[in-house]
């Protein structure tokens, strides 16, 4: 697959030029891209704009952080802790002071965070997906903000400091998801392997019967319903799926970073995800992938400086006004002149008033 080749090439390039530190940002971009491609399917194929997906990212990340930072050995009296220890679901390590501690195995916490996300997104999704247009946008925005405030205000979630010293995620033997620079290359491949797997899943979904149903829904919900497509069920399923993608991205990034903070659930992060999906083309997974990679990398490397959030806000405005189909469509991909030409076309086509 072309993407896999590109991934390997990039790593080889990075190693050769001795700038392996960029791999860290690429890994982080990879996990964020996982969120973004899930959101692409939701926004592009079912037309539901969700400005609250950072909330799901945070649910995934915080669940795994809370679970894996609780010392089970100290809680041995509680039946749940005893259960986990007995069944080998805990990982025994030593803490910096040399004492034995045990925490929930990251595999378990990943499963738990996915389950919790599925439940929450299912419960939230049922009423939210009945809303239309800007009511849906504001409701998802509200959901994201609730998560942000809950996370910011609870001692369990570390309030403003977040949760840190999240242990690494041991996959098998020496292979683990961790921020250790010695494991950088391995982590890069792990992250992108997961992203590729996710994309393969989504592409298969889109090309299947379910995918055609989704495209029908996006084209016209009433028509799709008239043809017998269970629109409510499909919309809800995709909502939950995209939430799970976000949660997995959140959980794994938390293990990679070793910490998570309340800013990961903020509105500006959600705006960032929506902006990237929009600029890559609403229903274009490859576009979102490219743009997600590029823009997250720039942002993480710090090239955007203190104008980070403003950049994504501005991009969202420009895209929504001038390029609602995204920047990477056929007419704009031609060349730079094509970009300017389409911009001129849109500006020339304006007429009076703003009515839709």
């Amino acid at each position: 697959m072309l993407l896999a080749l590109a991934v390997v090439l990039f790593q080889a390039l990075a190693s050769i030029t001795g700038s392996e530190y960029v791999l860290t940002q690429m890994t982080m971009s990879g996990y964020y891209t996982l969120v973004i491609v899930g959101l692409t399917v939701l926004m592009g194929y079912t037309g539901q704009i969700s400005i609250g997906h950072a909330g799901f990212f945070a649910i995934g990340g915080y669940t795994t952080a809370v679970l894996t930072t609780k010392n089970l050995l100290a809680l041995q009296n509680s039946p749940l802790a005893a259960f986990l220890l007995k069944w080998g679901l805990a990982v025994h390590t030593t803490d910096p002071y040399g004492a034995m501690i045990a925490h929930v195995s990251p595999w378990v916490s990943l499963v738990v965070s996915v389950l919790i996300t599925m439940i929450i997104s299912f419960l939230i999704g049922i009423p939210i997906l009945k809303l239309k247009g800007h009511y849906l946008a504001m409701a998802t925005l509200g959901f994201g903000t609730i998560i942000y405030h809950l996370v910011l205000g609870s001692r369990l979630f570390g309030e403003a400091d977040g949760i840190s010293s999240v242990p690494s995620f041991v996959i098998a033997g020496p292979l683990r998801i961790t921020g250790d620079t010695s494991q950088r290359i391995a982590n890069y491949y792990i992250a992108w392997f997961i992203v590729i797997a996710g994309i393969v899943l989504l592409v298969n979904l889109i090309n299947s019967r379910a995918g055609r149903a989704l495209r029908a829904i996006h084209g016209s919900e009433d028509a799709a319903g008239a043809m017998g497509v269970n629109t409510a069920r499909y919309k809800l399923s995709i909502f939950v799926l995209s939430a799970v993608f976000a949660a997995v991205g959140g959980a794994l990034l938390t293990h990679f970073n070793g910490s998570i903070g309340p800013s990961e659930s903020s509105v500006v992060k959600s705006v960032r995800y929506v902006a990237i999906v929009a600029v890559g083309g609403m229903a274009n997974i490859w576009g979102s992938l490219t743009m997600g990679l590029l823009l997250n990398f720039l942002s993480l490397r710090g090239y955007l400086g203190s104008y980070d959030d403003a950049f994504f806000g501005l991009m969202l405005i420009v895209i929504m006004l001038f390029f609602p189909d995204g920047l990477l469509t056929r007419e704009t991909l031609g060349n730079a002149a094509g970009l300017i030409k389409s911009l001129k076309q849109r500006l020339a086509g304006k007429d009076k008033g703003v009515r839709k």
């Binding site: 800007h134 205000g153 405005i317 008033g353």
Partner: protein, 296 residues
């Protein structure tokens, strides 16, 4: 709780509630003429306060406030002229998302101009320590200013919309844009006027509440969300509903402090927003038949 405590909570709730109501009325004005939810409404409030604080260094307070309102109104007009008029047939949803992006950009610009420091205007009458005793509850005279200014704004707006020609033209635009155009009303200018009005009342509200709640660069977003919740609660487009809804949410927030930890106070308004959206999106004072007929 004692009667004095009850009154204290109630007055605090009504104060913040009237600010939310002003923001909601701003939403309603723009929604009525264009159907767009202007998420940057909260930023107008923040900008009004910030600009007045900066101007106050050079000129006396009343002049600073008046000039700040003018500047923010200009900003509102330029948002309309530069952005909202741009597109041939934008969907309303696209425009709403544009305003969300816009609020982010405005917030970042404010951060770069004014730093992250928390500032405030000086109290209009007296200072931080003056307080008036009303039946056992102690309030600052600024609270009376807030309530007074909000009441004046609401009254002036209803007079404007009912008895003046531009006001009635705007109501015509909200009823039916095409028909208004046919009557010779310049709908583009009316839309700009609605942005100017929303920005102006937002700025004024920001100035008058600044001594009590302080102003900082990210104070706009919570106001925008809560103001939207109030607007929806009262029925989108319904200004009486906005006032009622604002006072209700203000009171709920104030009394919630006696039950919930303070950190969760902001969650109340959003939860109410979600509940209303799920149960009765037309709001308390809106009619469900009318809102079902609307295109947006």
């Amino acid at each position: 709780m004692t009667f004095e405590q009850f009154l204290q909570y109630a007055l605090s709730g009504i104060t913040m509630g009237s600010i939310y109501a002003i923001v909601a009325i701003g939403y309603n004005i723009i929604y009525n003429t264009t159907g767009i939810i202007n998420f940057a409404q909260g930023e107008f409030v923040m900008l009004g306060g910030m600009t007045a604080i900066s101007l106050n260094f050079f000129m006396p307070l009343p002049l600073a406030i008046a000039l700040s309102v003018a500047i923010v109104s200009l900003a509102g007009a330029s948002i309309d002229i530069l952005l909202i008029r741009r597109l041939k047939k934008p969907t309303v949803l696209n425009m709403t998302i544009v305003t969300i992006g816009l609020s982010t950009v405005i917030r970042e610009i404010a951060l770069h101009i004014w730093d992250e420091k928390v500032r405030s205007l000086p109290y209009f009458t007296g200072d931080e320590s003056t307080s008036i005793n009303i039946l056992g509850a102690y309030i600052s005279p600024q609270v009376l200013w807030v309530l007074g200014v909000s009441a004046v704004i609401v009254m002036l707006l209803s007079v404007f919309f009912r008895y003046t020609v531009p006001g009635r033209s705007m109501r015509a635009c909200s009823a039916n844009l095409m028909a208004a155009k046919l009557c010779g009303i310049n709908t583009k200018n009316m839309i700009t006027l609605s942005f100017v009005l929303s920005a102006a009342i937002g700025a004024l509200a920001g100035c008058v509440v600044s001594p009590i709640t302080m102003t900082q660069y990210d104070g706009g977003t919570p106001l925008a969300i809560k103001g939207f919740a109030v607007a929806i609660l009262g029925g989108l487009g319904n200004s009486t509903g906005a006032v009622v809804g604002g006072i209700m949410i203000g009171l709920l927030e104030a009394f919630s402090i006696s039950i919930l930890p303070l950190a969760y106070m902001d969650v109340i308004a959003i939860t109410i927003l979600l509940l209303i959206l799920f149960i009765k999106p037309s709001g308390l004072l809106g009619s469900s038949e009318v809102s079902a007929l609307k295109d947006y």
